[in-house]
Amino acid sequence: MDHFAIVIDHLSQPELLILLPLAVLGGMVIGAIPGLTSTMAVGVLLPFTLFLDPLTGVLILVGIGKGSLFGGSISAILMNVPGTPAAACTVIDGYPLAQKGQAGRAIETALWASFIGDLLSVVALVLLAGWLAKFGQQFGPKEFFALILLSLTVIAALSHESLPRGICGGLLGLLLGTVGLDLVNATPRFDFGVNDLADGIPFLPLLIGLFALPDILEHYMSTARELKAPKIDSTRYTRADFRMTLPTILKGSVIGITMGAIPGIGATASTFVSYAEARRSAPDREEFGKGALSGVAAAESANSGTKAATLIPLLALGVPGDVITAILLGAFYFHGLSPGPLLFQNDLPFIHAMYIALFCAGFCILIFGYALKRWMTLLSAIPRDLLYPPIIFLTIIGTYALSNTMFAVYIMFAFGIFGIMLRRLRIPAPTVLIGFVLSALLEDNLRRALLISQGDVISLFQSPLAMGLHAATLIIVVAVVYRAIRRSRFGKVGSSVAQE
């Protein structure tokens, strides 16, 4: 079968045609409900995708992530509550617009900005991932070790409160990744005589335990009132609005793509950079914060611009740039696929089918957004007290389905408690996940490189590529440490009370 026929064969799977639009829609609903996160949704649904064809399984997870980015803007605009962290910036102008009776216009602006940002992001993925993968073909163990070390700097971006504490989270992840048989010498490590741990700590129970259960359990500690279902007005996003906001959308998309392609920055930061740039260059900058349409467009185009861009380092080099791509990396492994240069070499039709499906998912957002925005505003006010028990039920079934044993379910529960403890200790859970995902790759490549050089540590730096990657790591580490010192010197004057 020729290349084109294989791509068509991948794309014509009935389950993909049905489930991808449903995943996008589901992601939009999840994003619109404050308290349900895309990380939680992807974690809970990941076990069920393992029963599907690899392309469908991976794309469902991507579709949920994409949909949730737009969905988050609905509650941000209507209720002043960002449905996702990336929608935090949309609140600034979206909610004032809703208060002026222009909620419909604001949501449609967010919809078009998300659609264009997402489309351009997929174009960037198509243009850059293949090129980066070719570059990655020159990598040996020491270059991969340097690359993974560079990707671990993601942890710095995820350590909002304290850099040392964030790195401790990453170290915890690296340590958890060493459990089980050592890949080089086949020595058992930290299995405590438990046979089920010989293959290491299972990824999915850890993921669900760390990301879904703590959110749910913490909900029962809060006494926050449920939100009332808001109403949406009939104002529209006109052609004149489109012409006015297009330059901002294009600029926001480029900012989102650039920041999304760099591991560790993520959607939330890019929205604020894009918003600041839109405000700086706007003739009516005093309108920003009071209900500027360009403010909504800047935030939404940037956060959607990051989505496919985060897949560039993942697909081309196998390096996750944020929590969702770290989960996706796990999903690829479960389906027997290794993202990186070899995937481009061995399964190019899979990659091309994925590109086409990603374009289609973008159109799904536009169609569903227009057709169902009124229904989604109603869904956004479903009481979480009724939503969370079924989600717990699904997490148990999903975890059990993975291995047909209750052991995985007990591991999930243990990591749920561990996740709560991490929150009490103010250690960010995403740093643990990143460390866990990269642990085996980091250690394996380091030990292979040293085995080849017979223990000569200097050899790790004796290649131009490795040198360049180590230099980039060093620059990022110096910048992060400098920023942390500045923040602690100027930002925290006197004693502060860390309210939980």
Partner: protein
């Protein structure tokens, strides 16, 4: 303002303690060194040792910076912790009886218990949503998709 400084530093202090525990007990006992020569390459203990030292250095840095800055942590109200413990206990009890009674019956009881006891929702609402959801899950996953659901040893 009330609050605990020690609790604020507990993340860093915990990391230091874990690092020490790894170096002194866990690595020597649970990571055996291979009996053959590794040709100058690091053995299976090397990576965990690097991690352990990382815990000690960075945990110490964090604890020191928190204590010097005088950060404090406010405790949660007892009733909030009580609700959390209640949900965790319901969940744990459910996991322990699932192998005997099966996922679907236990899941229904678990959902009703959490919705009524921890959230204070009406019993009728929680019974209807729990039974409908569990039924839908059984039909979709077990009957249609063939995804295994724990059936319970009592019914076999």
């Amino acid at each position: 303002m009330s609050g605990s400084r020690l609790a604020a530093a507990s993340g860093g202090l915990g990391a230091v303690a874990l690092g020490c525990l790894l170096l002194v007990y866990l690595i020597p006992v649970y990571v055996p060194a291979p009996p053959f020569d590794l040709g100058g390459a690091p053995g299976p203990q090397a990576f965990p040792r690097i991690i352990a030292w990382g815990f000690i250095i960075l945990g110490g840095l964090d604890a020191a910076s928190v204590l010097l800055a005088g950060e404090r942590v406010l405790w949660k109200k007892p009733e909030a912790i009580g609700r959390l413990l209640l949900v965790a206990a319901i969940l744990l009890a459910s996991l322990l009886v699932i192998p005997y009674f099966g996922m679907i019956p236990v899941g229904v009881v678990m959902m009703i218990a959490i919705t009524t006891l921890a959230s204070g929702q009406r019993l009728v609402t929680s019974v209807i949503t729990s039974v409908v959801f569990a039924g839908a899950v059984y039909v979709i996953f077990d009957l249609v998709a063939g995804i295994p659901i724990p059936s319970g040893s009592l019914w076999e």
